[in-house]
C-alpha cells in the first residue's frame, strides 16, 4: 500500500547539509525521521498511503522552483534537501497557521497533532478569519464527530476506504465547500458505519473522537493483550486507570496489524457491569428448577443465596463426587469453553478425564466446526487451517462459502477486501447476500441446503473439462476414481435448478477456481451447521485437492474459527473422543501415553457430545454436570429440551462471570474472572498461539478460573498444585507435540507463535501440507458426498426456512456484548431479518412485531426488512434471551461431526405477538444513565 518500490539501491543525498543515505523506496520524510530530523506532517501517517494534501511537510530542494511535499517525494542521488530553510519553514508555518485559524478554541483531543506541530514550530496566533464551522454530530454511540476540527487531511477516508474498506466516509462537495461526509451525507449514527473506529485512530485533530469523552482521560498504565471475541485473534492494548479499562487500541499483531472491529474496540466494559458475579451462590431450597424459568439477572437472590468459597466448593465437589460414587463416572460430564485459555481448557479436560474419570467432556466447537474438523481429519489428517487468513493477498481466487466475515470475522474481512482491491477475484457463495457481495467477482446466492449440489457440479465441470491437477492427484491424493465417478452424476445443468445458480455460472467459477495460480477456500458455519455439514466440508476439501490448490501460499483450506480459542480448546483436548493434540482416546497407544503423563487410569470409551449429553440427561444416564463458561441454555438447538435437561440434573455446577441462563439452573454458581482479569494463551484461527495478559483485578470474591478448576480437582481427590498458567502450559508442551517448541518466554517476548512448532526455536509454520499430509500414508483422501436433504424441509404448515447466526455487535449468547455499552446501544433489541416482499406477504411492515413458530416453539420479535435474505427464508441471531431462537431450531445431528442443523429448519411467520418485557441486560441503558449525569 505504500509507495511502490522503484529503486533497489540506497540513494545518497544531503539533508540539511549532512550527507545521508535513503533506503530503497524510502520517501524524504522517512529518511529524515530515520536520521532524527522531524518534519511537520498531518495528512501523512506511517503505514498509510501518502496523499500529500496538507502541505505541512514541504521541504526545499536545491534547484527546484517549488517546494516539495516530503511525504511523497523520494530522494535522488546528490539531491540537496533542506527541511528548515527560511522558505521551507515559512511555508510549513503558514500551512499550520491557516489550519489553526479554522480550529475551535479548545482542542477535542489531548493528542492533537496539529497542536503538537503548532507548539513545535512556535506558530503565531492565527491572523485569518475562521471558516463557517459545521455543527457537531453526536448521533453515533461510539464516535463523536466534530468537523469544526477537521483539516480534511483524508486520513479517515483512507482508513475507512483503503484499510477497512467499509467505504462509509468520503469527501463531498467542491472547493471551499468540501467536507467529510458519511454515506449520502447522513449523520454518522444513521449511516452504514460499522464502528470499527479506524477513522478515530487515524484522525490527527480530534474531529473524530471516542464518544462521551473517553479519549480525554489519561491512563495509569497500558497492558498488551489479545481480543476476547472471535477467532481472528487481533492483538490489542488495554488503557487502564483505577482498575478500569478506559479504552482499547489495536496493536500490531500478525493477524490484525493494529486493526480492530467494533467488538474489539468498544466491547470491553461488560467486565465492569453491575451484574458481575462477585460471590459464590448456592441455590435456595425453595427455588425449584424449571425449563420454563423467567430470569432476572438483577435479582439473583430470589433463587440463590450467597455463600463462602469453602461452602460452595464443598457442595459442588460433594455433589459431583456423590454421583460418581453412586452412579459411576459415566453419570458425570463437563462443558468447557472456547472462550477460556488453552491452560483452562487443558486443565478442565484433565479434571473431567482424571477426576470424573469419564471422557464426557465437550464444548461449543461441537456447535460450530465439528463437522469441518471431522472431514478435515478424515481427508487430510489435521483439523486446523492450512494457510492463514492473510494469505488471501497471495491468492488469485478466493472462494468464500457459507461465511459472513464482515459480521463474524470483521478484521479477516478487511484482509479479503484488501486482496480484492489488489486484484484477487472473490467468489462469494452464500444464500444470504452480505455486504461483501459488492466486492465479489461472482456472487452465488444459492438456495439454502444445496451446498453439495453446487460443489459437486463445480467438480463435475473440473473433471469434464480436464482441469484436474493430475500430478497432484498422482503424488499426494488417494480416492480420486471414486470421487470422479460420484461427481459424474452432478452435471451443472442438472444441479442448476436445485441450487438456483445457472449452469454457465457454475462452470465459470469452477474454471476460475481450478485454473488460477492460487485458489484458497474459506468457510464458516453456513457449511458446517447442517446434517450434511461433514459432506459439505468433504466437497470443499475435494475441490481443493483435485485442483492441487493446497500446500502453497495463497491456496488451501481455511475454516474460519468462531471463538477466540476454539482452535486452542480443541487442540487441548476439550472434546470427548480425543486427548490433547487429537490423539484418540480409544487408541491404546495414546491412552498409555496420557496414563503415564497424568499418572492415572483413563477410560478408553469416547465420551458423549454436547447435544448427546442433553439427551442422556433426559434419559437419566447423566446426573451431574460442571460447566465452565458455556451457556447451553441459550446455544443448544431446541433449547427448551436443553433447559429441561439442565433443570433435571441432580447437581449442576456453573462457573461464569454473569448469571447466565445456564447458571440460573445451577445448584452452585462459582464467580469466575473475565478475560482481561487473567493471563493465558489463546490460539487463533491461523494456528497462532498468543498471550492474553492480565490487566485488571477481579471484582469482589470472583476468582481466577485456573484456581477454581484446581479447587474442584482437589475436592474430587486429585492432588494438583499448578502455580500458574506457565506451569500448565509447560505440561501441555509435553502432551502436545504441535506446540512442544513454544516457550512461555518466547510468548511473552513475541506475543504470538504459530504452531506446528515442535522444537524450540522453530519459527512456526504459517503454511502447512507443503510436502505431505499428516496422515499415515502422507496422502490426502478424497471422500465423495451425495445429496442429503435437510432434516426438516418447509411444508405447507411451516413454509419458511429459518437460518440462525450472529450479528456484528453481539457475541454468541449475548452474555458479554449485551452488557457492553456501545454494542448494546447499537443493537438493543431482537430482530428477524426478512425479505421485504415476504414481510409484505404476511401484512407486516419493517419494525412490526412478528411471531416465528416451529414445531418446537415460538418467539416474538421485531421484523427488519433485508433484501439480502432470500425469499422464503429468515435470519435470527441467537443472542437474545427474550426471543431465544434456539427454542425453534432442530436438534438433529450430522452423523459424523454430531453438529446440530442450526442453519435450517421449517417455521411459519405471523404478524403480531407479545414481546418479552425485558429487552436488554442494560448495557445501552447504562450509557443513557452516564449521559444523564453529564
Amino acid at each position: 500500500m505504500m509507495n511502490t518500490l522503484q529503486e533497489t539501491e540506497a540513494v545518497s543525498f544531503t539533508l540539511n547539509g549532512a550527507a545521508v543515505s535513503a533506503s530503497p523506496g524510502e520517501t524524504l520524510i522517512q529518511t529524515a525521521k530515520r536520521h532524527g530530523v522531524e518534519i511537520p506532517h498531518l495528512c501523512y501517517k506511517e503505514g498509510m498511503r501518502a496523499d500529500g494534501n496538507c502541505r505541512a511537510c514541504v521541504v526545499e530542494i536545491k534547484g527546484e522552483r517549488v517546494l516539495a511535499p516530503s511525504c511523497c517525494r523520494q530522494p535522488q542521488e546528490g539531491m540537496e534537501v533542506s527541511t528548515n530553510s527560511p522558505r521551507a519553514l515559512h511555508s510549513q508555518k503558514m500551512v499550520l497557521e491557516l489550519l489553526r485559524s479554522d480550529m475551535p478554541a479548545q482542542s477535542y483531543s489531548p493528542d492533537s497533532e496539529l497542536d503538537h506541530w503548532v507548539d513545535e514550530l512556535q506558530v503565531i496566533a492565527p491572523r485569518f478569519m475562521p471558516r463557517l464551522s459545521p455543527g457537531p454530530d453526536f448521533s453515533h454511540p461510539a464516535i463523536a464527530v466534530n468537523l469544526d476540527a477537521c483539516i480534511q487531511c483524508t486520513r479517515c477516508v483512507r482508513a475507512c476506504r483503503e484499510e477497512q474498506v467499509n467505504d462509509v466516509i468520503g469527501f463531498a462537495f467542491r472547493g471551499h465547500r468540501s467536507e467529510i461526509v458519511f454515506d449520502l451525507k447522513d449523520p454518522m449514527g444513521a449511516s452504514t458505519c460499522v464502528a470499527c473506529g479506524e477513522c478515530v485512530r487515524a484522525c490527527p485533530t480530534g474531529a473524530l473522537m471516542p464518544a462521551r469523552g473517553v479519549g480525554l482521560v489519561a491512563a495509569d498504565r497500558t497492558v498488551e493483550s489479545v481480543c476476547p471475541y472471535c477467532g481472528v485473534g487481533c492483538q490489542l492494548t488495554y488503557h487502564v486507570k483505577d482498575n478500569r479499562i478506559l479504552r482499547v487500541e489495536g496493536r500490531d499483531g500478525p493477524a490484525n496489524e493494529s486493526r480492530l472491529c467494533v467488538k474489539g474496540r468498544y466491547g470491553f466494559d461488560y467486565v465492569h457491569h453491575r451484574q458481575r458475579l462477585t460471590k459464590p451462590l448456592i441455590r435456595r431450597a425453595d427455588a425449584p428448577k424449571s425449563a420454563d424459568f423467567v430470569m432476572d439477572p438483577d435479582d439473583p437472590l430470589s433463587v440463590f443465596r450467597e455463600a463462602s468459597w469453602e461452602e460452595a466448593l464443598a457442595l459442588a465437589t460433594g455433589g459431583l463426587k456423590a454421583i460418581r460414587e453412586s452412579q459411576g463416572p459415566q453419570a458425570l460430564c463437563g462443558f468447557g469453553s472456547a472462550k477460556g485459555s488453552n491452560e483452562e481448557a487443558y486443565l478442565f479436560q484433565k479434571l473431567v478425564r482424571t477426576g470424573f474419570r469419564t471422557n464426557n467432556v465437550d464444548h461449543c466447537t461441537r456447535l460450530c466446526h465439528a463437522s469441518s474438523v471431522a472431514a478435515l481429519l478424515e481427508g487430510i489428517g489435521s483439523g486446523a487451517v492450512s494457510n492463514p487468513v492473510r494469505d488471501v493477498i497471495h491468492s488469485e481466487v478466493v472462494l468464500l462459502i457459507g461465511s459472513n466475515p464482515i459480521v463474524n470475522h470483521p478484521v479477516a474481512a478487511t484482509w479479503i477486501k484488501n486482496a480484492v482491491k489488489a486484484g484477487t477475484k472473490l467468489i462469494l457463495a452464500d444464500p444470504r447476500r452480505s455486504d461483501l457481495a459488492r466486492h465479489a467477482a461472482h456472487y452465488l446466492q444459492f438456495k439454502p441446503d444445496t451446498d453439495v449440489a453446487l460443489l459437486n457440479a463445480m467438480m463435475h465441470t473440473i473433471v469434464l473439462e480436464n482441469l484436474v491437477d493430475q500430478n497432484f492427484i498422482k503424488d499426494r491424493v488417494s480416492g480420486y476414481e471414486e470421487l470422479r465417478k460420484n461427481v459424474e452424476g452432478f452435471s451443472p445443468e442438472a444441479m442448476a435448478p436445485l441450487c438456483g445458480i445457472p449452469a454457465e455460472t457454475i462452470k465459470e467459477v469452477a474454471r476460475l477456481f481450478a485454473t488460477s495460480k492460487a485458489s484458497m477456500i474459506l468457510w464458516g458455519m453456513g457449511i458446517s451447521q447442517h446434517v450434511h455439514g461433514t459432506d459439505n466440508a468433504r466437497c470443499l476439501i475435494a475441490l481443493s485437492l483435485m485442483t492441487g490448490q493446497i500446500g502453497r501460499p495463497g491456496t488451501g483450506l481455511h475454516p474460519l474459527r468462531g471463538q477466540n480459542n476454539v482452535q486452542g480448546a480443541s487442540d487441548a483436548g476439550l472434546i470427548p473422543m480425543m486427548y490433547p493434540d487429537y490423539q484418540r482416546v480409544n487408541e491404546p497407544q495414546a491412552q498409555a501415553k496420557f496414563e503415564a503423563l497424568w499418572n492415572t487410569r483413563l477410560d478408553a470409551k469416547p465420551g458423549l457430545t454436547v447435544v448427546e449429553i442433553m439427551d442422556a440427561v433426559h434419559e437419566g444416564k447423566i446426573r451431574g454436570m460442571y460447566i465452565m463458561g458455556e451457556n447451553p441454555a441459550m446455544s443448544d438447538p431446541d433449547v427448551h429440551h436443553a433447559r429441561g435437561a439442565l433443570a433435571k440434573l441432580d447437581c449442576l455446577v456453573v462457573q461464569d462471570i454473569f448469571l447466565t441462563e445456564t447458571a440460573y439452573l445451577a445448584d452452585v454458581v462459582l464467580p469466575a474472572s473475565a478475560f482481561p482479569e487473567k493471563t493465558g494463551t489463546f490460539t487463533n484461527t491461523d494456528r497462532l498461539v498468543q498471550l492474553g495478559r492480565k490487566a485488571l483485578e477481579s471484582p469482589g470474591e470472583a476468582r481466577q478460573d485456573l484456581w477454581i478448576i484446581q479447587e474442584m480437582a482437589r475436592g474430587l481427590g486429585l492432588v494438583w498444585d499448578y502455580a500458574g498458567p506457565e506451569e500448565v502450559f509447560n505440561e501441555m508442551r509435553r502432551a502436545m507435540p504441535s506446540i512442544a517448541g513454544i516457550t512461555w518466554a518466547r510468548l511473552e517476548q513475541e506475543s504470538g507463535v504459530t504452531y506446528p512448532c515442535e522444537q524450540e526455536g522453530d519459527p512456526g509454520q504459517r503454511v502447512v501440507f507443503t510436502e505431505k499430509f499428516p496422515t499415515e500414508s502422507g496422502r490426502a483422501r478424497l471422500v465423495p458426498a451425495d445429496i442429503i436433504p435437510a432434516a426438516e424441509r418447509p411444508d405447507r404448515e411451516f413454509p419458511f426456512v429459518l437460518i440462525t447466526g450472529r450479528q456484528l455487535e453481539h457475541w454468541h449468547t449475548g452474555s458479554m456484548t449485551r452488557r457492553a455499552t456501545v454494542l448494546d446501544a447499537i443493537e438493543p433489541e431482537p430482530v428477524a431479518s426478512i425479505h421485504p416482499l415476504d414481510l409484505d406477504a404476511i401484512g407486516a411492515k419493517p419494525g412490526d412485531v412478528i411471531s416465528v413458530t416451529s414445531r418446537r416453539g415460538t418467539v416474538s420479535l421485531y421484523a427488519r426488512a433485508d433484501d439480502g435474505t432470500p425469499r422464503g427464508a429468515l435470519f435470527i441471531p441467537f443472542c437474545y434471551y427474550e426471543a431465544a431462537v434456539n427454542l425453534l431450531t432442530n436438534p438433529v445431528l450430522d452423523p459424523f461431526g454430531k453438529i446440530p442443523e442450526f442453519k435450517y429448519c421449517a417455521v411459519k411467520l405471523t404478524k403480531g405477538g407479545v414481546l418479552a418485557l425485558r429487552s436488554s441486560y442494560g448495557g445501552g441503558q447504562s450509557m443513557a444513565a452516564v449521559q444523564a449525569e453529564q
Binding site: F138, N146, G170, V181, R438, E829, V831, D867, Q931
Partner: protein
C-alpha cells in the same frame, strides 16, 4: 433527569440508543422496495447501464432527467447497480452543480448574478423576489411551486438583468415584471415551452 442522548458538553457525543431506527433496518442500508417512481425509472432506463464506475455520471444524469432530482432511493439504486459505495456516489454527485438532491418546485426561476446583470440591479431583483416568494436562493417555496436559483452568467449580458423562468429567457427584467412573470408561470400547472422574450420591452 435529562432524556437519554441529550448533550451539553461540547465534543463529547455518544448518541442515544437508536432502537426505533435499528428495529426497522440496518441504518443507511438500501432496502427494497424503493420509491415507485425510482423503481419505474430503474426498470425502464437505469438497469441497462453497464455496471462499471464509468456509468456513474451518465446514470446520475439519467435519473435526474427522469425524476427531476436525485432522491435517496435513486442514489441507493445507482450505488447498488454499479457496485460502488453510497459515499462514492455522493462524492461525485455533490461535486457537480448540475445535480440536485431536493425535489424542485414545479416552476424554476433563475436570476443571473453575473457582472452585467449585477451592474443593472440583479441584486435588488433577487432581494425582492426572495421576499415575495418567502424563500432563499437555492430553495423551493413551501407549497412546492417555485424553486429560486442564482447563476453566475447566462451569456446574455446584452439583455441584463436576465431571469430565466421555466427555461424561458427574460431580458431587462424589473422587480415588478419579474413578479408578473412568476405569477403568470404559476397559472400553468406545468412549465410552458421556452421562448425568448424581453419582458421589459
Amino acid at each position: 433527569m435529562k432524556k437519554p442522548g441529550s448533550h451539553d458538553s461540547p465534543g463529547m457525543g455518544g448518541g442515544k440508543p437508536k432502537a426505533e431506527g435499528a428495529r426497522i433496518r440496518r441504518p443507511g442500508g438500501a432496502v427494497l422496495p424503493l420509491d415507485p417512481e425510482v423503481e419505474r425509472w430503474f426498470a425502464a432506463v437505469g438497469a441497462a447501464f453497464p455496471a462499471s464506475r464509468s456509468s456513474i455520471i451518465p446514470m446520475l444524469q439519467s435519473a435526474q432527467a427522469s425524476l427531476g432530482y436525485l432522491p435517496r432511493d435513486a442514489m441507493q439504486a445507482i450505488a447498488r447497480h454499479l457496485k460502488v459505495s453510497p459515499v462514492t456516489l455522493e462524492g461525485v454527485a455533490s461535486f457537480y452543480a448540475q445535480f440536485r438532491f431536493d425535489k424542485p418546485g414545479r416552476h424554476r426561476v433563475t436570476v443571473c448574478r453575473g457582472t452585467a446583470c449585477y451592474v443593472r440591479g440583479s441584486s435588488k431583483l433577487m432581494d425582492d423576489i426572495q421576499a415575495d416568494l418567502k424563500v432563499a436562493a437555492g430553495g423551493t417555496t413551501a407549497d412546492g411551486e417555485v424553486t429560486l436559483e442564482a447563476v453566475s452568467c447566462f451569456g446574455a449580458c446584452a439583455l441584463a438583468p436576465v431571469v430565466v423562468v421555466d427555461g424561458t429567457v427574460n431580458g431587462r427584467v424589473s422587480s415588478a415584471s419579474l413578479k408578473a412573470l412568476v405569477d403568470a408561470a404559476g397559472q400553468h400547472p406545468q412549465p410552458q415551452p421556452g421562448r425568448r422574450t424581453k419582458a421589459g420591452a
